[in-house]
């Protein structure tokens, strides 16, 4: 039953994507308010799916590829719905809506079911650790999306080629503030998430397992996020340079994830 709710949510995220795409293709000013309703209903359906999953399996959908992706999609959709409620930054959802849809569709295809493997690391420690880490990644994605649009908008304004990007997307300042806010949120959440994981391993396992690829990847992601933050707040870098660091960092870490998954395989990864 939970899969039906997830599928309905995915359809609505796809509908929102189409609405964004049509407005963008027509070079209309900003996204229409209807996406706020569509994404809110999608989010509601997504939450119903998660509740049903939780009720059925007795645990939140945080472990295993399918459940993890569905949870990550929820956080992206949450940001999408939040932005859709603002008229100022609604059109940033142009990148968030397809991401939420894609994550959820992949989750549905691989199966949103518990792994069934017995894990030592369970309970509220695990829930908080994973939730905060996912919040970190989702926020970073929002920051990178806003930064990417910032770079496109900057390019159009600088080179006086005022097309669909100029018309559809928000002002530079709005994108910059959104990116900054999401970056700070992402870094704070990921730091807390990793710290919880670290504290647990030190307390119960005596130390970090440095050979664990997900630990290495998480620390790499945290370092890249720290660098993106430093590019924004440290030194005399412009917002454009900070945006480049942000997008590049997110791109490299995402690429590293896919490469690592291909080489190492599913067993060692939470996502």
């Amino acid at each position: 039953m939970h899969v039906v709710a997830y599928a309905f949510a995915a359809v609505l995220y796809l509908t929102a994507t189409a609405r964004f795409a049509v407005r963008f293709a027509k070079a209309r000013r900003g996204a229409s308010a209807s996406v706020a309703i569509i994404t809110s209903v999608g989010l509601l359906s997504h939450l119903v799916g998660i509740t049903l999953y939780w009720a059925r399996y007795g645990e939140p959908p945080l472990v295993g590829l399918g459940p993890s992706l569905s949870a990550l999609a929820l956080l992206v959709a949450l940001a999408l719905a939040g932005l859709a409620l603002t008229s100022e930054a609604r059109s940033v959802g142009f990148l968030l809506a397809p991401a939420a849809a894609l994550l959820l569709l992949v989750a549905i295809v691989v199966g949103i079911e518990p792994t069934g493997s017995a894990m030592a690391f369970r309970g509220s420690w695990l829930t908080l650790h994973i939730s905060l880490s996912f919040l970190g990644y989702a926020s970073w994605f929002v920051a990178a999306a806003a930064a990417l649009i910032y770079l496109l908008q900057f390019h159009e304004l600088k080179h006086k080629q005022l097309g669909a990007v100029f018309e559809f997307f928000p002002p530079l300042n709005t994108l910059d503030r959104l990116s900054e806010w999401a970056l700070v949120t992402g870094f704070s959440a990921l730091t807390l998430g990793i710290s919880l994981g670290w504290a647990w391993t030190i307390r119960f396992e005596g130390g970090f397992r440095w050979s664990d690829p997900k630990v290495v990847w998480a620390l790499l992601a945290w370092t890249a996020l720290l660098l993106a933050l430093w590019a924004r707040f440290g030194g005399r870098r412009t917002s454009r340079q900070a945006a480049i660091w942000n997008v590049a960092g997110f791109g490299v870490i995402s690429l590293a994830y896919f490469v690592a998954r291909l080489i190492i395989g599913e067993g060692q990864f939470f996502l």
């Binding site: 000013r29 908008q153 304004l157 006086k160 005022l162 928000p170 002002p171 300042n173 412009t238 917002s239």
Partner: protein, 434 residues
């Protein structure tokens, strides 16, 4: 022909003629009252802006009313280069309604799709509505007409892109500034060379919330005058470089024969790397700012040609929206006209209901006088029964009469109805419409 519009606008007369026809806001109530003195006029409103002076009339005698308004306008204009009728136009009936809808939508504006006209129509309606008693200028028909005109204006703007994009060089500058900074509230701006265009751009920026304004000009008196007007400060021309690093937006419009803001000086005086964006609007010819400055990080430099290109592109886009806007207007004119035609049946329906009610009352009184044994509640029940019965019997024919009138078949239907109910001798004066 129940409606007429009489007036002059930017298409029919140059500015020096238009301003002769214009009425001051304070004069409008008296002018409306004067027009209403003519017994051919039932309702009147006046739109008087820099681009148009138009009287909208709901008339019982079109010729009498229009002649009266033409004379009023001629008297207002006085001596003109050509006879007044060469500048004036008269639209009647459905065309007058369509004209008002086009005006409210910005289709008839000098700058296609401009939005200020919507507010000007609203103000004209409000002034006309403020007249009461003997001088009542707006009644049911004009209430409906002007409210629908405002709603049509809103519909055109929301359903088409007629009002999107910059319509002038200063508004293009403001649009760009908003795309860089978002809200301009609290931003700092400087105008170098306080020419007319520079001042106009400054005014647009101040209207958008630019708070701290500096004016640098070789003519210090002029700089002080402009700065004072916009709540800013004047600065000596030689000192503008000292202020430049503090600015978000700079407008240059000097008459200098060479660039005032050179790359070398910019590099020397400004921070090596600008952390915040600097928007430079160079509307001078020849240019005040060396174009290489636009290549520096975080500097957005737009010349008057760049801005004009934006305006041209926006105008082209607006033009493509005209057919869509016209379709909306045609649709709304038809709706209004159906409603207005439906009113033709109202006087007859009122008379019919009055007559039937009189019959009911007489027959009820007669019956009740013979039914003295009925209790008070029973008498009320009988009365309610007769009323409900007639309501139900009359509902269908009156609804159909209205519908027929809305479809333009009021004449045949009303003649037949008068014959059937024996009411041929009863007139249906237009004055009963309200």
């Amino acid at each position: 022909m129940p409606f007429a519009v009489v007036g002059v606008n930017h298409r029919t007369a140059p500015i020096e003629v238009r301003e002769r026809f214009a009425f001051d806001t304070t004069e409008v109530p008296d002018v409306l009252a004067h027009v209403l003195e003519n017994r051919g006029v039932a309702e009147v409103a006046l739109i008087s802006t820099c681009n148009r002076t138009e009287f909208y009339l709901h008339v019982s005698d079109s010729e009498m009313a229009v002649t009266h308004v033409l004379k009023t306008l001629e008297r207002q204009a006085g001596e003109l280069p050509k006879p007044a009728e060469r500048y004036l136009y008269v639209n009647r009936s459905k065309d007058a309604v369509e004209h008002l809808y086009r005006v409210a939508s910005g289709l008839d504006s000098m700058v296609l799709g401009e939005v200020q006209i919507q507010g000007q129509v609203r103000d004209a309606y409000a002034v006309a509505r403020s007249l009461t008693g003997q001088r009542q200028a707006v009644r049911a028909v004009f209430n409906r007409l002007f409210q629908s005109a405002l709603s049509v204006g809103g519909r055109v703007r929301s359903e088409t892109r007629l009002s999107e994009g910059a319509a002038s060089v200063p508004s293009a500058a403001v649009e760009l500034a908003r795309k860089i900074f978002g809200s301009l509230r609290g931003r700092r701006g400087m105008v170098i060379g306080a020419g007319d265009m520079g001042e106009l751009t400054l005014q647009c920026l101040v209207d958008e919330g630019v708070a701290s304004v500096m004016v640098a000009s070789r003519n210090m008196l002029r700089a002080q005058k402009v700065a004072e007007k916009y709540g800013g400060a004047a600065v000596a021309f030689s000192d503008f470089w000292d202020e430049l690093p503090k600015m978000d937006i700079v407008v240059t419009s000097t008459a200098a024969p060479h660039a005032m803001v050179t790359l070398g000086e910019f590099r020397r005086r400004m921070p090596r790397k600008l952390k915040a964006p600097l928007f430079v609007i160079d509307i001078a010819i020849p240019r005040d700012v060396e174009p290489e400055i636009g290549e520096l990080p975080n500097v957005f430099l737009y010349s008057v040609d760049d801005l004009q290109q934006i305006v041209d592109a926006s105008f082209e886009r607006r033009q493509t929206e005209v057919p869509k806007a016209e379709a909306i207007i045609r649709d709304e004119v038809d709706k209004f006209w159906r409603w207005y035609s439906g009113l033709q049946a109202v006087p007859f329906i009122r008379q019919l209901r009055g007559r039937v009610e009189a019959v009911r009352q007489t027959e009820l009184d007669h019956a009740l006088s013979k039914l003295g044994h009925l209790s008070e509640s029973d008498r009320q029940r009988v009365e309610r029964l007769t009323r409900d019965l007639l309501q139900k019997v009359l509902h269908q024919p009156t609804a159909r009469m209205r519908a027929a009138a809305e479809d333009g078949r009021e004449h045949d239907i009303l003649v037949a109805a008068r014959y059937l109910f024996g009411m041929e001798e009863d007139g249906t004066g237009e004055e009963e419409q309200e």
